[in-house]
Symmetry: C2
Subunit: 334 residues, 2 copies
Amino acid sequence: MDATNHQVRLAKRPTGMPAPDTFEIAEEPVGEPQDGQVLVEVEYLSLDPAMRGWMNDVPSYLPPVGIGEVMRAGGAGRVIASASDRFAEGDHVAGMTGAQEYAVVDAGGLSPADTSLAPLPTFLGALGMTGMTAYFGLFDVGQAQPGQTVVVSGAAGAVGSMVGQLAKRHGCRAVGIAGGPEKCEWLTGELGFDAAIDYRSEDVAKALREAAPDRIDVYFDNVGGEILDAALGRLAMKARVVICGAISQYNESAPRPPANYMALLVFRARMEGFLVFDYFSRFPEAAKEIAAGLADGSVIAREEIVGGGVAAFGDTLNMLFRGENTGKLVLAVR
Amino acid sequence: MDATNHQVRLAKRPTGMPAPDTFEIAEEPVGEPQDGQVLVEVEYLSLDPAMRGWMNDVPSYLPPVGIGEVMRAGGAGRVIASASDRFAEGDHVAGMTGAQEYAVVDAGGLSPADTSLAPLPTFLGALGMTGMTAYFGLFDVGQAQPGQTVVVSGAAGAVGSMVGQLAKRHGCRAVGIAGGPEKCEWLTGELGFDAAIDYRSEDVAKALREAAPDRIDVYFDNVGGEILDAALGRLAMKARVVICGAISQYNESAPRPPANYMALLVFRARMEGFLVFDYFSRFPEAAKEIAAGLADGSVIAREEIVGGGVAAFGDTLNMLFRGENTGKLVLAVR
């Protein structure tokens, strides 16, 4: 195969928001799958807040992306050459392809994407890592029970919008915190959240007193900062604070840690972090439940698909940090 | 009974450290026990970091002590008049007596203090709330298992010194963080801690790398601030951070919250607060275990007993915030 593969490579570690010189587009020949591998023509790339952390030269749960390396990213596409008996040519798959047009990937790291069930981009969102993150964070770490109050920040984002819908489906009261009236209307309208708080125009601590009259049993945090503090002040006894992300803090040189953390003592509450990768063996359980929700209409998958191909990767990523997306942000590669 | 009762009353809410005008000594006649109550001649008062929080006009797990009210305090003494069939005149007891020389208390709120088992002040320490706090924090919240590494801050204090000893008794590696070489020598010498870190002269983050080579499974925090951050950076996977107190922060107008809290995500760890009062029904279980440790010598109870009576209450309390005590700080009332 003599096509050219365009790749997004990390050119320079950013300070603050990623800038035009953070990434560079490189060209190289499309690779050949070796034994156990497949060659994927990537159609969609996932944009995730966690990417900002992967770009820092700090040891974390995954090694930092090296300068000159292809940017780590989830992708979905079609197998165009296979040296594995797991997938055949033409199969749709999703997994960590990296930010590039063609990826040679170990077949064991890919999941099948059954496009009769949902369109391909949904396998990066509701039926992908996003959905898995929401499901295990809410039910395994957060131990959400029917009748309890679940509050989620970044609620109009990929994970947040799934958390609230899964909470409702489970019989919880779901309250979302998001930026702007359109997002809030989407949450309480189409998605069926019980209440939404616009952090841009409302005093979140005050609004939580109204929106969570019985206090908060599960707070699912995607943002950190002041909103985390406001939620800590409204916890119920024995509450669970699920630490999924801290998007408000990723580009800050002086992060704002949770000043209210002693609320954990006052309310005998727990704050716990998790990583979706740890739940890999249980993904089918979550996927089955979410697919059932999509089928019966209790869960709505929304992707915001941006065009422009790999050259638009950096600009599209920054939409996340400016809070410009609603639902799962996806880059169309072709 | 026509004796006079000297009481420590809260005169003024402090800003920062309690000052000479924070408390006033009041006199009133000794009270009479009503049905179900006893009159206790208080011999020892417990000094606890949590007292600082009780003095703030902020709703918390207990209502604030009101201006003009007797300062809330644990005490131990002798029943000198009883209108309850639970205790007879002459019995030794411990419980929330308030900071005063004589207390009329509901008998149901007092515990018997068997002075054939240990001296009376020990019922404010190892066999009192202090020991209970260490036990339930370590085993119930912290889920410490044999072979795991337990790190405790404020390790030469009342709760901290018990945590380390109970951890050792349970087959854990015990590392203490304390201020000054004498305290550290006491921890690794008489108390048998595996290692001690002097936060006044050492870089705690660096010292933890040596003292906790397998990282930290349970971090029991009594201090907050920079030391909490250092411990968060050294957590093991699935670690438990037990929030018992934050003595370094109680007198600060601008507290230093845990900037490293996202370590909870990296290490899939949990930070959880608790209050010993919630474990009241299980106190006998802990007391039995601690008494066994005292009897076989694996647990050493040390009280630092300060004289001066109730007039010395404020000065003695401040010894806690200056880190001047070793073991359980107790005020001798007579």
